[in-house]
Amino acid sequence: MQSLKQQALDYTLGVLPKEESLLFEALIEEDEEAQNVLTEALDDFASLSLTAKPSKLGHEVRKRVVEHCQPKINLDPFLGSKEIETLRDTFSSFTDRYTGGGGSVDMSDLKNSVLKDDIVSNYENLIRLLPLVSGDSRAASGDFSELQNQLRSHDSFTQSVHKTLDHGLQGESPASRSVLRSALSSMPSLAFFSDRLRADQATVGDARRLFYLCRDQLKIMRSSFRDLDSERLIEDEKLRYHGAGLLRTKWWGAEHAYFSSNGKVRCGHFFDGPITERCVEFAEYDANMYCLANLLAPRSADGEFHLELLKDTVPGCTLAVTSAKMSENNFKSLASVIDRKTIVGKGLEQDIFLWDLIEDSMVRGHKNDSIKELREQMTYGYNRMNDTTYLWFAWPAIPNAQ
């Protein structure tokens, strides 16, 4: 009996060796006494759980949690579209997949010294910002004073993005692409939330969002400029699986902003499992997701857009899909950006850069220099079904990863 009790305690604590766990599970299926002992152990540890110091949970967490009950958006029509059928027919798995780190330049490749200084200064400010928005910071408990002092000690990130864009980057050189990736992927949203905090209009949920954005932005910058912080980059380059759950966690129910527009993200039920093998690869994947979001969010008819990560829909790859209800005019504007036709709408040069950044990444990720071929294979692209516009990109899956 004593041994049975010990087994039940160890099983509940998760310290029973695997083989013994299996035997114990078999035992509780047929032995009522073993079942009772296990139930008692569960109750005992539940009691122990309640000795934890009581803490308040923010209201916005409830919103995110109950969102799980909303019906899944039906992607079947999109997944049955001719574009995705083409992708299925043309996509072939990789044995030697790209794991990020391409598209990185040295800071010395930047000829403009003002721009270079801005990048270094932004990076340093973000490094100082990260601990002030982490989960054990004062801001996480609603005391923003320290965080606001830090944010107000330098120019707003919004100004910084505009200053970068004012340099008239054309995006042809790898160095320009790195600057644009740093300025246009996660930075606009980060700038939006940090401005809100500076202006004293923020909630704890905003501080949380800023934490994820800050963390992402730092990784995107390190993967864009290889000598910006080589010490931390060594960590980013280590082999380490990154699960789709990381993306679900930060995007689920999030507010997203891109310059003057902001909207709400709705997520699907992302698959469980790894998506990238190194931080530098994750940073690239992440930047692509931000680019898709930045293209869609300002054009969404109701301010909302949908994110989904799918695996096995197209064998051998993961598929990132974003979609939004969109007016015909906004769709035309988006299509003109992507197809480089006469641009419909003003001030859309930045959107062209966003699409360029995705294309660059597809070239690296699929190890194919031919953009034309990648587009024909529907490796990435856009389409419209009824009033919904879809943007997607495929990324080679990690073989044999669960």
């Binding site: 122990l48 000795t51 934890a52 110091k53 803490s55 308040k56 009950c69």
Partner: protein, 185 residues
């Protein structure tokens, strides 16, 4: 313990979104407090809560109502997921900050006076019962349950035999149970 009856699980299993909201309102606080105690990081603890609720909604059959209380299962699953994260964080050493440093941080997570006053008698009783456990039993339970150390690690850490570690866990747990049953008499 906040009252969460198994009946709510049947409703959730049937896809009743209001039951899901009721469960959150009645029990997420206790789950979050536990996760935060283990992780010391509000965002990570929120992620755990989100993950557990998402898992429950997608796979309600993971709980078997004939095998115990729903509330106990929820707390233990929250503990296990929090410990998984804690261990993985320790492995990564992302922060370069020791657990001791974390433990010494000022406490930003205390509930306000009003909420503190409404904590159930049972919870405050449990907390004082835990505090009153002999130091050696409390320490072993803390390391095992809240820090996720296995018996061998505890034995090395405290320089005890494996048998002593196990018996202290067992005795500590039994004392807590007795203390709770005295309260209910």
């Amino acid at each position: 313990m906040p009252i969460i009856k198994n009946e709510i699980w049947y409703r959730i299993k049937d896809g009743d979104a209001s039951a899901f909201g009721e469960l959150y309102d009645g029990f997420a606080g206790a789950m979050f407090s536990l996760s935060l105690e283990i992780l010391g990081d509000r965002w990570e603890a929120e992620e755990v809560i989100q993950d557990v609720f998402s898992y429950l909604w997608r796979k309600p059959e993971s709980f078997a109502p004939d095998k115990g209380k729903f509330s106990s299962w929820l707390l233990v699953i929250t503990r296990n997921r929090s410990i998984d994260r804690y261990r993985s964080r320790k492995r990564r050493l992302d922060r370069g900050e020791s657990d001791d440093t974390l433990a010494q941080k000022p406490d930003f997570n205390l509930v306000d006076g009003a909420e503190g006053a409404t904590q159930s008698d049972e919870r405050s009783h449990l907390r004082s019962a835990f505090k009153d456990l002999p130091e050696e039993q409390r320490k072993v339970l803390e390391l095992s349950y809240f820090k996720g150390l296995n018996h061998v690690e505890i034995s090395d850490h405290l320089d005890l035999s494996l048998g002593t570690v196990k018996s202290r866990i067992r005795l500590g747990i039994e004392k807590l149970r007795n203390s709770l049953s005295n309260l209910r008499i």
